[in-house]
């Protein structure tokens, strides 16, 4: 704690902390208020006498209703969940076994391959999306969830691999050696001894990968076109922007509801998420 006078505590701690919290969380409050405000109140210009931005006197669920009933929001949620889950599972599978190989096994190409996987991180999605669109077409998976399920692992696997490498390195070698003395094959040692111990790490990697999948945009924007195939980020930004018609209420409803699954999952696994994030940074 800060020693000394109470005012010092306020100045050096409570005030800055309060400002951070306000600054970081205000936009979410804004999303909430806008979702519940009726159109009449929403479209008062900023210097109108009755402009009341921070609350509403007549909250309405109209925007939420129009979002859920008049758009394919439910479908987008489903699509995004499915894609995120499958992509995460694929990435975890690849990342865990790759991480084990790089951390535990000695072989000639270990250093090179580790670096190669790192280098792929230097090739961001925004660099690849144009040629990748053609390739997606050639493999005939354009406009299907597979276009994303197969491409998302490209940025999820490197991360999962490093994270798992870090975790595996902290597991004492003795564990495996004991198992092998007991007659286990390398494969059995890995699956039955090491993986259970690394489970927290796997969970962390999984949660982080899940949230990263939800956050992906440009591949989803370019590879999908039918409204039924879209993910939440793409659907909300493309389908709720209608010409000259007012839309901010439903947009904010979409933004709010679209954020909930991720926030929900995150809330259950905060510790693991943080561990995942920091583990990758330290590892």
């Amino acid at each position: 704690m800060i020693e000394g006078a109470k005012w010092k505590k306020w100045l050096w701690f409570y005030l800055p902390m309060g400002m951070f919290i306000l600054g970081l969380l205000f936009p979410f409050y804004w999303m909430l208020v806008t979702t519940l405000k009726p159109d009449g109140e929403l479209y008062r210009p900023w210097n109108h006498p009755l402009y009341s931005p921070f609350w509403t006197s007549a909250p309405t669920l109209d925007h939420v209703k129009s979002l859920l009933l008049e758009t394919l929001f439910g479908t987008w949620m489903w699509n995004t969940m499915l894609i995120a889950l499958v992509a995460t599972l694929i990435s975890l599978f690849c990342g865990v076994i790759a991480g084990y190989a790089l951390a535990r096994l000695r072989f000639r190409w270990a250093g090179l391959l580790g670096t190669a996987i790192f280098v792929t991180y230097l090739v961001p999605q925004t660099l690849l999306f144009i040629p990748l669109a053609e390739i997606i077409r050639d493999y005939r998976i354009g406009d299907t969830p597979w276009a994303l399920i197969l491409t998302y692992p490209t940025f999820l696997i490197p991360f999962c691999t490093w994270l798992m490498m870090g975790y595996f390195k902290t597991i004492p070698k003795e564990l495996e050696e004991c198992a092998r003395i007991d007659g286990a094959t390398r494969w059995q040692a890995m699956v039955y001894i090491i993986l259970p111990v690394a489970l927290p790490g796997i969970l962390s990697a999984g949660i982080f990968a899940f949230t990263l999948s939800w956050n992906e945009f440009i591949y989803a924007l370019v590879f999908l076109s039918s409204p039924e195939q879209k993910t939440v980020p793409v659907g909300v930004t493309s389908e709720l922007i209608r010409g000259d018609v007012f839309f901010w209420g439903s947009l904010m409803a979409g933004a709010l509801l679209g954020s909930i699954p991720v926030a929900f999952v995150y809330s259950f696994f905060v510790e693991h998420y943080v561990a995942g994030m920091t583990g990758s940074v330290k590892g």
Partner: protein
């Protein structure tokens, strides 16, 4: 998408169709062709509703085709068709703006059969309709409508500053705007990257000063003193009379601003007025009267070289990747038959003008005098790339917003000459 064998289809379209129409029942068979139709989110929402609730179910019944109707933000139509062509799958009928079809000429089907039939039956296309959709050899797109652009303005406010008739020259408009901005009621215009209001303002503005991109022979003539003069005028005009946020506006910001009483005039399709008719009690003047009684329309003012207009144009392409081209063409033909098209046209209340001459005589135009100027939009508009053709190069220049940016750049800083030189450089890399 369900496939239908050729034989089945011929059976359908031949005797089957007559049988179906006679029995008023959709045929029940295992596979049905689907046509995926994508259009913009109509600025007159009532029309989209009419399509969804009435017209398309009728079409389905009449043709035995399932129609999958999708609407997106108009500015997303281009990325959408590019991605679709790139990934080899997507909608079967795509609506495009202005001369954008020219950019995709190599990837769309030849629709001359549909287009020529409509032209013949309805008194011929307007010149601008043909030039936007014809690539010199064939129709690459079926013209749909012209969205007339006029200045919507507040009658009472202009009267207050001495203009009982809308300003006829740019100098007068600038004067009125200056006075009104001083009262907190500036002119509102977008110079952002949005398909509708920006080019329909910047192109005719340029032409009215005598500037143009190319001449009749196709030579680049943008770098001329008329262009520089237009830029110089615009920079002063903007700062004195316009809402300066307009640089970041899209096609909907001016509607919202006008309807909430923060701007006095804006170039737009008729959607502002139509919206005020839709909810007469939500939009009021500050004296409490219904806003719709204070809105009038006028054409763009005159410049030293005359008065010009450019109207947003809509047409439909059938991409070459589509596996339902026959059904798509069938549908378009059906949609354009006067009985069916008329329903859609009337729901637009004059926002859209049909691309063929015969509709000028339609009685809907006589109903509301405020909408009268829109009747002849198709006849009077010019096309991008003027005085050259509205071809692929003009489409590229349009889609890169070069003319619009020329003005936006000058407003943001720098000399008019520099802005014009920049535009000339950009156009040169397109026209060669």
């Amino acid at each position: 998408m369900a496939r239908i064998s050729r034989r089945r289809f011929l059976q359908l379209s031949g005797g089957g169709l007559a049988g179906i129409l006679a029995s008023q029942q959709a045929p029940v068979f295992a596979q049905q062709s689907t046509v995926h139709w994508i259009r913009w989110n109509d600025f007159v929402p009532a029309s989209d509703e009419l399509l969804r609730k009435t017209i398309l179910p009728e079409a389905s019944k009449a043709l035995g085709i399932k129609i999958n109707f999708e609407t997106v933000n108009a500015n997303d139509l281009q990325p959408r068709i590019t991605s679709a062509i790139q990934s080899g799958a997507g909608p079967d009928i795509v609506m495009l703006n202005n001369n954008h079809p020219q950019l995709y000429a190599a990837s769309v089907a030849d629709v001359s059969d549909v287009a020529e039939a409509v032209a013949k039956a309805q008194g011929g296309y307007y010149k601008l309709a043909r030039s936007n959709t014809h690539d010199g050899k064939k129709f690459i797109s079926v013209p749909w409508s012209v969205i007339g652009a006029q200045i919507a303005y507040r009658k009472s406010w202009f009267e207050e500053v001495g203009y009982s008739k809308f300003p006829e020259t740019w100098e007068q408009y600038r004067d009125a705007g200056k006075k009104l901005k001083a009262k907190g009621r500036p002119i509102g215009q977008t110079l952002g990257h949005t398909f509708g209001d920006s080019p329909t303002f910047s192109y005719p503005y340029l032409w009215s000063f005598g500037g143009k991109e190319v001449d009749e022979k196709g030579k680049l003539v943008i770098d001329a003193k008329e262009t520089v003069e237009s830029v110089r005028f615009m920079t002063a005009f903007w700062k004195e009379a316009h809402d300066e946020g307009g640089l970041a506006w899209d096609d909907s910001n001016n509607n919202r601003a006008f309807l909430s009483g923060t701007i006095c005039a804006t170039l737009n399709g008729a959607s502002i007025y139509i919206e005020s008719l839709r909810k007469p009690d939500q939009y009021k003047t500050d004296k409490g009267a219904q806003l719709k009684t204070d809105i009038l329309h006028a054409p763009l003012p005159r410049g030293p070289a005359g008065q010009f207009a450019m109207h947003t144009f809509h047409s439909h392409v059938i991409p070459a990747y589509s596996k339902n081209q026959k059904a798509a063409k069938q549908f378009l033909t059906w949609m354009h038959t006067p009985a069916n098209y008329e329903k859609w046209f009337v729901s637009q209340k004059g926002f859209a003008t049909p691309p063929t001459q015969q509709w000028e005589k339609h009685k809907m135009w006589d109903e509301d005098p405020v909408m009268a100027p829109y009747r002849v939009a198709g006849r009077l508009g010019l096309t991008p790339g003027h005085a050259g053709p509205s071809d692929r190069k003009a489409a590229e220049a349009l889609t890169k917003y070069i003319i619009t940016d020329m003005y936006a750049k000058a407003i943001q800083g720098g000399t008019p000459e520099a802005a014009v030189k920049w535009a000339a450089g950009e156009l040169k890399s397109i026209y060669g």
